[in-house]
């Protein structure tokens, strides 16, 4: 009985989250499709042929997995951070806080919203990419598991950001000043093998590099890093962020006075 009620509560939050981003699809789903299509046109079709091959693949094939991953990361993060902060700002988060919904279900519900939007955006960008290239798939399990886990990880990041945010500026600082640089420097547009040793070592400290490369491995069968190391790091980060998010919810940080 208890499990059934918590499942209904989880489904309610997940449905509400999906309804939210589908209702405003012009703001949530359309922009990444257009932006990423421009990346494919400029970097794939116009500049790509002049660059030649990267790690043995055409340049457009090389950048497609990274661009898909970039869309997944930013959309997973921004969905949760904007939705949960919006709920705090409008105070309708209190609807859930007064209810018996356990903290774990609140977290899972919001994460499911971020993951579903992230994956849907990833699917849209993938479909757009098929206009420009025939995308090979080396390993479906690796592709699906890496994109799913990465989406979970950045949804958790968005949730924690929203918990601490006190004004709308606070929810754009991390995406603009941390997430975007990490993603652009995470090997989306280049192989780190092209970098000098020092910058190559610096790049290895960027967690996004592991996700982009593991995802690229799923498509192309080629990666700059050990794929198992990538899985390990993603799972460790998920465990740390999930534990921290639960701690914040339990303490009521930013939610209860």
């Amino acid at each position: 009985m208890y499990q059934q009620r918590t499942l209904i509560a989880l489904a309610t939050i997940a449905r509400k989250e999906a309804q939210r981003y589908l209702r405003i699809w012009v703001q949530t789903l359309l922009p990444p499709a257009i932006t990423m299509a421009l990346y494919f046109v400029i970097f794939g079709n116009l500049i790509g042929p002049r660059i030649g091959t990267m790690d043995g693949h055409t340049y457009i094939d090389f950048i497609v997995p990274g661009i898909i991953m970039m869309a997944v990361i930013t959309n997973s993060y921004s969905n949760v951070v904007s939705s949960f902060f919006g709920a705090k700002f409008q105070r309708h988060v209190e609807e859930i806080l007064v209810s018996p919904t356990p903290n774990s279900v609140i977290l899972l519900g919001y994460i499911s919203g971020g993951v579903s939007r992230g994956l849907l955006t990833g699917l849209i960008v993938t479909l757009v990419s098929l206009i420009f290239t025939r995308l090979p798939i080396h390993s479906i399990p690796v592709t699906v598991s890496v994109v799913f886990l990465t989406s979970v990880l950045f949804s958790l990041g968005g949730f924690i950001n929203a918990v601490f945010a006190r004004k709308f500026d606070d929810i754009s600082i991390v995406p603009v000043f941390i997430l975007t640089p990490l993603t652009y420097l995470g090997g989306v547009f280049y192989s780190i093998n092209l970098l000098p040793d020092f910058w190559r070592m610096v790049s290895m400290a960027n967690p996004v590099l592991y996700m982009v490369n593991a995802f690229r491995y799923g498509f192309l069968g080629a990666s700059d890093i050990d794929i198992w190391l990538a899985y390990g790091l993603i799972l460790i980060f998920i465990a740390i962020l999930a534990g921290f998010a639960m701690y914040l919810l339990h303490r009521g940080v930013g939610l209860r006075s």
Partner: protein, 313 residues
């Protein structure tokens, strides 16, 4: 059974502001209970702790004997909250808001739809069920908050200033609705209000909180009978030059055609009317000088030990 039990409840906010000081309070099942107090007395903090929106510093809260810390699901499922400020999603429809709230309590969609229809119809919102909540009038938003709080059919309903800013007609209809769910459905109701007339009309028991302490907790009638006098304002048909000598009621002329008369507990209105007739004073209308509970409330807050001297009408 006690619908609500608060034991040694304390709350000190960050920065050292003490909001609650050793609050002990019980509310019986089926009661219509008024929690009164001036602004900043601790009412909202108390409700916040009961509804899990504020973290207590120490103490115990139990809802229908379910400890809020040890059995949160049972305690919270028994509780419905109508907060003072609108706190629903402005972009969702009326129906979505109520259905989602049911979902948070683990109620299946089919059952939730039936209950949503019942409460939205009873509160006159059924025709507006597909309206986005931000387009509703203030009164409709108030009623939406009540429908949302009732959709999981709580046994204890807490309303924090539910009629603030609501016109008289709607206020009266909300009073009737609350009386009905209290009597017919047996829902225990805790009400905070600034309209003491509202508390006097609705509540069987009352607690008064001030500076984080419960300074009075009794039934409404006992509280009111502590008043020794009732004060009335009489409108006269003709101007009165002076008060007749030997008039046995404490009287003050406040205008040529208006008298203020105090009727003591040992006097009756019949005696007053007989005396008015004897002295040839014709009265066209008569009204209470002010709300009786309001008078008593102010006396209690001022710390007057002898509330019996409070005037009322």
């Amino acid at each position: 059974m006690k619908a609500l039990t608060l034991e040694h409840l304390n709350k000190t906010y960050k920065g050292g502001v003490v909001a609650l000081r050793d609050v002990n309070l019980t509310v019986d099942q089926g009661d219509f209970f008024g929690l009164l107090g001036p602004n900043g007395a601790g009412k909202s903090t108390l409700i916040g702790i009961i509804s899990s929106l504020v973290t207590k510093t120490s103490g115990r809260v139990a809802v229908f004997d379910h400890d809020l810390d040890r059995h949160p699901w049972e305690a919270k499922a028994s509780l419905g909250l109508v907060p003072q400020e609108f706190n629903f999603n402005n972009f969702e429809t009326v129906e979505q808001i109520v259905l989602n709230q049911a979902g948070y309590y683990g109620i299946r969609r089919g059952v939730a739809r039936q209950r949503a229809e019942r409460y939205l119809r009873e509160l006159g919102l059924w025709e507006k069920r597909r309206a986005v909540s931000r387009t509703l009038s203030g009164g409709m938003k108030r009623r939406l908050m009540i429908a949302r709080a009732l959709v999981h059919e709580p046994r204890l309903l807490i309303l924090d200033e539910p009629t603030a800013g609501v016109d008289i007609e709607l206020r009266r209809s909300m009073w009737q609705f609350l009386r009905d769910i209290n009597r017919a459905d047996g829902v225990t109701i805790i009400l905070t209000t600034h309209y003491l007339e509202e508390a006097e009309n609705l509540c069987r028991n009352i607690a008064i909180i001030d500076e984080g302490r419960i300074i009075e907790h009794t039934d409404t009638q006992s509280l009111l009978t502590r008043l020794n006098t009732h004060e009335f304002v009489l409108d006269l048909t003709a101007p009165l030059d002076s008060l007749p000598a030997g008039f046995p009621f404490q009287t003050q002329q406040i205008a040529p055609r208006q008298l203020e008369v105090q009727v003591g507990r040992d006097q009756t209105l019949t005696e007053l009317f007989l005396e008015l007739e004897r002295t040839g004073i014709q009265v066209s209308s008569m009204k209470n000088k002010s709300n009786r509970l309001e008078e008593l409330f102010l006396r209690l807050l001022r710390g007057d030990s002898d509330t019996g001297t409070a005037s009322g009408g």
